[in-house]
Amino acid sequence: MEGSNLGVMAWRNIWRNLRRTVLTISSIAFGTFLAVISTGIQDRNFSEMIDLAARMGGGHVTIQHKEYQDYPTMSRTIENCKEITKSALKDKQVKHVVTRITGHTMISTAKGSYGAGFMAIDPLKEDDKTLSIIKNIVKGSMFATSMDRGIILGERLAKNLGAKMGSKVVYTMTDRKGEIVRGLAHVSGIIRTGAPGIDSGLSILPIDSVRKILGFSENEAIQVAVFIEDQRKSKQVAKRLSKKSGTGSATLTWNEVNPELAGFISMKIGGAIFMEMLIAVLVAAGIFNTLFVSVMERLREFGIMMAIGFSPGSLFRLVMLESLWLGLVGLVSGAIVTAGPYYYLASKGLDMTAMIGEGGSEVAGVAISPIFHVGIFPEHAALIAGAVFITTMISGLYPAWRAGRVVPVDTIKLV
């Protein structure tokens, strides 16, 4: 039989029990909606978290001394930062490259001393695209030059130290030989992120001032942070850059530098995949039920069809085409149902402040916004569409097989 005729029959068959078909299509549409929205929230939020983590730490790709990851001391530096930067900027995925010195320091005032992390940056090359917390400066401003005498403190750290704008602080760190060295700075800015770990434990310093104290050359730093267009390409970019950056350095992706965040995201994605599989099973059960009941109700009709010359294969194809139609209509309905909420959530977002507080929460030092937006990756949208489609077709296999196995004489009952 011509495929188009079977297709027409299948199309009409699915509408014979309108209520049942509408329910099935609704379950496919709802499953698609849930999958798209939850995946969209993940894609967007995890991407933002990764970008944020990159902009709070070492970029999407970090080039540092090959032993620094395991032994983070000031003796393990990169001594050809300018060459690495120049080479990295030639990669078309790379948007920004900055050099930094990071480590731990003890900050002291007359009131007391507190341990904190420090990040020494070049204020002329960094902005909120490379260091997100720059936009969280609530008092004061960024340093004027890389030799500035200022220091920017987390709000909570400043409070603990009793430091105000202009206050004098002494920062103490260990140089490459393990000797204690000191610097003097004036508080020139206060940062408030809402993330407790940052607000109570981070300080920012001008890079050349720190180089001078640590005895680094002007081409020397702890890390070269590379920022790329699409965080999903981190691995490929790292691979390309590692070939150029020399044997003494290690080129790491954000998830190697920040395994805690990578673990958190993997765990969340794992949980989401489990939930989506559960949704798929529920949707599949709905489709299977519809098709199976529909086939069992039509056994006599299939018997008649066999009697007039339909082959078992054509009955199998007919029911599979019914599956196909259900899947396609379900997907289109899913797209229609999802479009409005998706657009709203993509632009306005879902405000979860009531649940997680105004400051949001923090994972591995990365602040999570309390407003969830959606932004699904195209390949994930295609994957969901494919999964819904395949689920629908798999659900139709047994009912279709059953239709093809009808024994006409048992179902027709001629007299």
Binding site: N5, R16, M306, G309, L414
Partner: protein, 236 residues
């Protein structure tokens, strides 16, 4: 007529069919031998349980004989696999059922066309044949109606058109007049008789209806799975 009877279309030789009902074996057919020739207009009659239905099922390749040989157009049905049997049903056998049994989602036209479509006949030829047939069965202008929009008699006419459209060797009609009124039954029989005479289509009826038996040119009477009367009525 004698020339036509020389070509056997259906042959049953020593056919038995035994069913198991609970713990009891039921012998529906007991060594039945029967030959139906091309162009015959045959009524198989007999009381309930005499084996009428079983004969139609077996000739129609819907059921399998327990023993004996069944041939349609010279092909031994026992030698055919499932696929070959479905091709046999499609190409050589037409069914007209008591309850019409049209496919409810198809229009009158599509129901009449469906078997030809299964045969892969070109659309233009299908259209010509179906339109001719619908005209012959008196349903011109009703091509687009669905079965539920047609009366019982009209549905049965479509079923006849469907059965004939693919030019089968034999049409098996199971109580085709049982669900329609007397006038409609007459009209249906007129149509089938005309098709039989004009086109030489072979009909085998299973029936209780005296109207059908009156029109039949051959009566095969069954009792307890055996042929007790096989009568040619040349005057019809």
């Amino acid at each position: 007529m004698n020339d036509i009877k020389q070509v056997p279309v259906v042959e049953l030789k020593d056919v038995t069919r035994t069913y198991r009902q609970g713990d009891v074996d039921v012998n529906a057919l007991r060594g039945l031998t029967l030959t139906i020739n091309k162009g015959e207009f045959t009524a198989v009659c007999g009381p309930s349980g005499s084996g009428k239905t079983t004969i139609l099922n077996i000739i129609g390749a819907l059921d399998v004989a327990s023993s004996g040989k069944v041939s349609v157009e010279g092909k031994d049905l026992s030698s055919l696999n499932r696929r070959e049997l479905s091709i046999m049903r499609r190409d050589s056998i037409g069914f007209v059922f008591q309850a019409y049994n049209l496919i409810p989602v198809l229009t009158a036209y599509e129901n009449a066309e469906i078997v030809m479509s299964l045969q892969g006949i070109a659309a233009d030829e299908r259209r010509n044949r179906v339109m001719d047939l619908l005209s012959e069965v008196g349903l011109e202008g009703m091509e687009d109606r669905k079965p539920h929009q047609l009366s019982g008699g009209q549905q049965q006419r479509i079923a006849i058109a469907r059965a004939i459209a693919a030019n089968p060797a034999v049409i098996l009609a199971d109580e085709p007049t049982a669900n329609v009124d007397s006038d409609t039954a007459d009209k249906l029989l007129d149509i089938m008789e005309t098709l039989n005479r004009k086109r030489g289509v072979t009909f085998i009826f299973s029936t209780h209806d005296p109207k059908v038996m009156d029109r039949a040119r051959r009566i095969v009477r069954l009792i307890d799975g055996r042929v007790v009367i096989d009568e040619n009525r040349k005057n019809n």
